[in-house]
């Protein structure tokens, strides 16, 4: 049994959200560079250069890349031999969000669904817990912007739709999203499990690094195929036209019911923000 104090958790979550919002990953910056080399549209290349410049300014000033600093999504893997001391784990995670969004000058975007009254501190966080072997705690912070999230969908396909039906659903979703989710996007696809499980898998897929293919060679091929189809849609960066509509596509697959084929598409804008730490 290993003890982790809630103060460590609060500090870690605070730091992760500030870091994720101000420092774009090297994988995303490298993807911008590749797209600047390959996109045929001069306007697209100009937009991509702006995005690089924006990331540089954000890093230099430690200001958020985008004013939409997201709802605070957390994936927390708790080792079964961890003992949390000093308070309530869930409250510690929310306190970390409160401090990060307050002290980091991040926008508070959480509101009541009906009255639209802002909660003023960006809590509650959306927390996905998992219990894993060991005595560590892995925390992944994913600030998720609203514009791209709004373009996401879950559908319960008929099993007869098969893999081709899944691919068509993903490509059509990105086509229908058009310029709305701030392309070039990253597309998380969750397949299997139940209705809600597919959506969580899609979200989790977005915590991969750009270029990180699925370990299953068949699925890796499917990811590459869907990415290539999406980039032939012509939408391009910001929807102004071009060959870079998405930077990557990630599939996560689990078994499902014999009657079902749940498919979730979680759309992520080019500000693909996620940072993690292990306590």
């Amino acid at each position: 049994m290993r003890e982790i104090r809630t103060e460590q958790i609060v500090q870690a979550v605070r730091d992760l959200f500030i870091d994720a919002n101000c420092n774009l990953g090297e994988d995303v910056l490298a993807a911008f560079d590749r797209a600047i080399e390959t996109d045929e549209s001069p306007v697209a290349r100009e937009v991509l250069r702006e995005l690089k410049e924006n990331a540089r300014i954000a890093r230099d000033e430690q200001s958020p890349l985008c004013q939409d600093t997201g709802l605070a999504v957390l994936f927390v893997e708790v080792g079964q031999d961890v003992h949390v001391t000093g308070g309530d784990l869930k409250e510690a995670l929310n306190e970390g969000v409160r401090r990060g969004y307050g002290e980091g000058y991040l926008r508070k975007s959480a509101c009541h669904p009906f009255t639209r009254a802002n909660t003023r501190d960006n809590t509650p966080a959306v927390i996905h817990f998992d219990i894993v072997p060991g005595e560590r705690m892995r925390i992944v912070a994913v600030p998720k912007g609203g514009g791209a999230e709004n373009m996401s969908r879950v559908d319960m396909l008929s099993p007869s739709a098969g893999l081709e039906g899944i691919k068509d659903f993903v490509v059509k979703r990105i086509e229908a999203s058009g310029s709305n989710p701030c392309p070039p996007t990253v597309v998380g696809v969750g397949i299997g499990g139940t209705f809600e499980r597919s959506a969580i898998l899609a979200k989790k897929a977005l915590t991969r690094r750009i270029g990180q293919r699925n370990a299953d060679p068949e699925l890796a091929g499917v990811e590459a195929d869907v990415l290539s189809r999406i980039n032939r849609l012509g939408i391009g960066p910001m929807g102004y036209g071009g060959n870079t509509t998405s930077l990557d596509v990630f599939f996560e697959v689990e078994p499902c019911h014999i009657a079902s084929l749940p498919v979730a598409v979680n759309v992520q804008c080019h500000a693909m923000r996620h940072k993690e730490t292990i306590l």
Binding site: V43, L51, D68, R116, G147, N180, R232, I235, M238
Partner: protein, 183 residues
């Protein structure tokens, strides 16, 4: 593709000469308003009451900025997705609104209203909030402070970079751009 400098407020003549794909640098005052502020403005119009700002000739920027760090006029301030304001935008254009800044596709009703009332829709680079904030010199809340990031702010901008997405002739850069590069 032209690069045009424009000063706000805008006239019919200013917007009529704009074409899709034109890069425009806006200087002057623009007002922020997004979902909740639009709902309140719309409720006032329905009730036949005066709006907190005279929108004739004005430009509305769909943005909910991040908080300003000490010594800065504003935090990150890029556009939010515009279609959520589609239900309200035609009424505002009827009252004299000349420009909207946002990102993402507009509905047919909005594109038609731009033609009818002589207004344009500008795109700013979504997600480039840190870069765009550099063109904002001053920000002050003028209405609905209780809405937090959704309050209406009066921004003074200097060469704020935008692209014309929909002009006064019913054209759409998103449609033309995608058609050109579709394979």
């Amino acid at each position: 593709m032209a690069e045009i400098k424009l000063k706000t407020p805008l006239t019919d003549q200013d917007v009529e000469k704009l074409e899709i794909g034109d890069r425009v640098l806006l200087t002057g005052v623009v007002y922020t308003a997004r979902d909740a502020a639009h709902k309140r403005l719309s409720d006032l119009i329905e009730a036949g009451r005066e709006l907190p700002v005279d929108i004739r000739g004005q430009v509305i920027y769909y943005v909910g900025p991040a908080p300003a760090r000490p010594g800065k006029p504003i935090g990150s301030a890029g556009p939010t997705t515009s279609y959520r304001m589609d239900a309200y935008a035609p009424k505002l254009m009827e009252l004299g609104l000349k420009g909207m800044i946002g990102k993402g596709n507009r509905g047919a009703n909005v594109i038609e209203a731009m033609r009818k009332f002589k207004a344009v829709y500008f795109g700013a680079t979504g997600g480039a909030g840190a870069l765009l904030a550099r063109s904002i010199r001053k920000a002050e809340t003028v209405a609905y402070e209780d809405l937090g990031p959704e309050a209406i702010q009066r921004l003074e901008v200097d060469d704020f970079p935008v692209v014309v997405i929909n002009d006064t002739k019913g054209n759409d850069l998103y449609v033309e751009g995608a058609n050109k590069y579709r394979r």
